[in-house]
């Protein structure tokens, strides 16, 4: 059987070659892709864009999340926001390396997860992280939602950027990687703009909304600023599951529910 042959070839390469061997990497391509949590949607809730706005933005958001979690299981990742920016700026000024900044980022996104967790506690929604991720399926089955700190736990092992020390993989990347590894149904970034613009709409009045775009087109445009971390685009090119993401405006009530029902209400970025 061809399947057995492929498997035999892969196993013999695994035992004999270096793990960076091209033939081995290509053979691993043939392995099946199993979606671990195929019904779940990962939602990333912005730190600066939403949580830093306090009650006015967060209470309605919590209400909406609670109303949809029974019909659509959701995994809620949190961003960092203004405190992360303060700490990054302080740490960079002190000459500290990217690894130290990463750790600070984890803590700030963790505070946002804690706050959201307390607001959603009465609805049974837990905050998870680290080894507690193992109990995720139970939480999702029991109450339809769980909250996690969006920052990837790379700690002192975070890759350094080409310039400067700001961690290149932050909460957008962390949430995206969770969607990818669990084979989630959707990845939705909830921010405070209607989607991706040709420039930062907060500082540039001529910025135009882009409703739909491919990763390759977006990389080719080489925009000076972006609403989503650049490394996410590169990750999307390599994704096996999360091949499209939607960016929506969390200040407009009802959009999260509509996006979960498959509606196009913000910007959809897809891997070509």
């Amino acid at each position: 059987m061809a399947d057995d042959e492929t498997r035999g070839a892969l196993e013999s390469l695994l035992m004999s070659r270096s793990l960076g061997d091209r033939e081995l990497m290509e053979a691993s391509e043939a392995a099946p892709d199993y979606r671990i949590l195929p019904d779940v949607t990962v939602l990333k809730i912005g730190g600066q864009s939403l949580i830093d706005r306090g009650r006015a933005a967060v209470y309605p958001l919590v209400e909406e999340l609670v109303s949809i979690k029974r019909s659509h299981p959701i995994l809620i990742g949190t961003g960092g926001g203004t405190r992360a920016r303060h700490a990054y700026s302080l740490a960079a000024e002190l000459g500290l390396p990217t690894g130290v900044l990463t750790d600070v980022g984890v803590a700030v996104a963790g505070q946002n997860a804690t706050m959201l967790g307390h607001l959603m506690a009465r609805h049974g929604v837990p905050v998870v992280g680290g080894s507690a991720m193992g109990a995720l399926p139970l939480y999702l089955a029991e109450c339809g939602a769980a909250i996690f700190s969006g920052m990837p736990p790379y700690d002192m092992w975070q890759r350094v950027p080409t310039e400067g020390v700001i961690p290149p993989y932050r909460t957008d990347a962390g949430c995206y990687l969770i969607a990818e590894v669990y084979g989630a149904k959707n990845m939705i970034f909830v921010k405070d703009e209607d989607g991706l613009y040709t420039a930062n709409p907060k500082t540039n009045p001529d910025a135009e909304l882009i409703r739909e775009i491919t990763v390759d087109e977006l990389i080719a445009m080489d925009l000076p600023d972006l609403i989503i971390e650049r490394p996410v685009l590169e990750l999307m090119r390599r994704a096996r599951h999360a091949k499209s993401v939607q960016i929506i405006n969390g200040l407009r009530p009802g959009l999260i529910s509509r996006a979960l029902q498959g509606e196009h209400v913000g910007t959809i970025i897809s891997a070509a």
């Binding site: 290509e26 053979a27 203004t82 990054y88 000024e93 390396p97 990687l177």
Partner: protein, 278 residues
Amino acid sequence: MTKTPSDLSFATKDVPSALMRQTLLDRDLVRAVDRPVVRLLPWLNIVAIGGRSIIDRGRDALEPIVEVLRGELGTHRMLILTGAGIRGRHVLGVGLDLGLPTGVLAGLISTEAEQNGHLLAALLAEDGVSYLSHTTVAHQLSIHLAGAPAAVSNAFPPYELYELPPEIGKIPPHRSDTGAFLLADAYGAARTIYVKDVDGVMTHDPAGPGPGEPELIERISVDDLRAMDLPSLPIDSLVLELMTRAKHQKEIQIVNGLEPENIARALRGEPVGTIIHV
């Protein structure tokens, strides 16, 4: 236009900083906070022991290495990191067959590197050397190396579920060589020594075709090495890519651990094996 009360109530509660209200993605704005990065542990020596190349060989290879390491305790402060080896390959094979994603595979293979670390640390326990978890290495390495001559940990980076998907296939790309390098660079370590079962980088593969006897390359730049486009290297090529961006680790050294005295010589700064530099 005057702001409505609802606009005001939506206002972000900002902490003033040079990066306030930024997306952190505008290259020009972020440049404002660029400073030279300090070396946190300039006296640290990272010694990465290969899983497949050294530890899987068992007692014959490991006992002499442990003897040499023991002899260097007290002279050079070391963090000894271990790779995964053959059991890592096995668990990757099972996981791939089950259709599990790269992030899960990364956690599985990393466990094997950790086990190798526990074995090695046990052999040096009587000398005050212990195994440290990733969290301890990231946060308390300083006190551990102030109180002990060396420590052992897992060379894999703690990426696990958050491992980045590779360009081709599904094998986790951030493995022990890369983890050791990223950590060395973050700490601004004095040197990164990779202990393998070959003398270093050879001009061509001893087992493959090539003109005459392969020769050891003693010193080579990343660019020159990449230009040679050798079919295989004793370290992961991702390390070379990361070296070009590194803040401190502009040099790495590969030595043959089957002649363990090489490790002591490399710790003393001797140009043994192959040195790859930026």
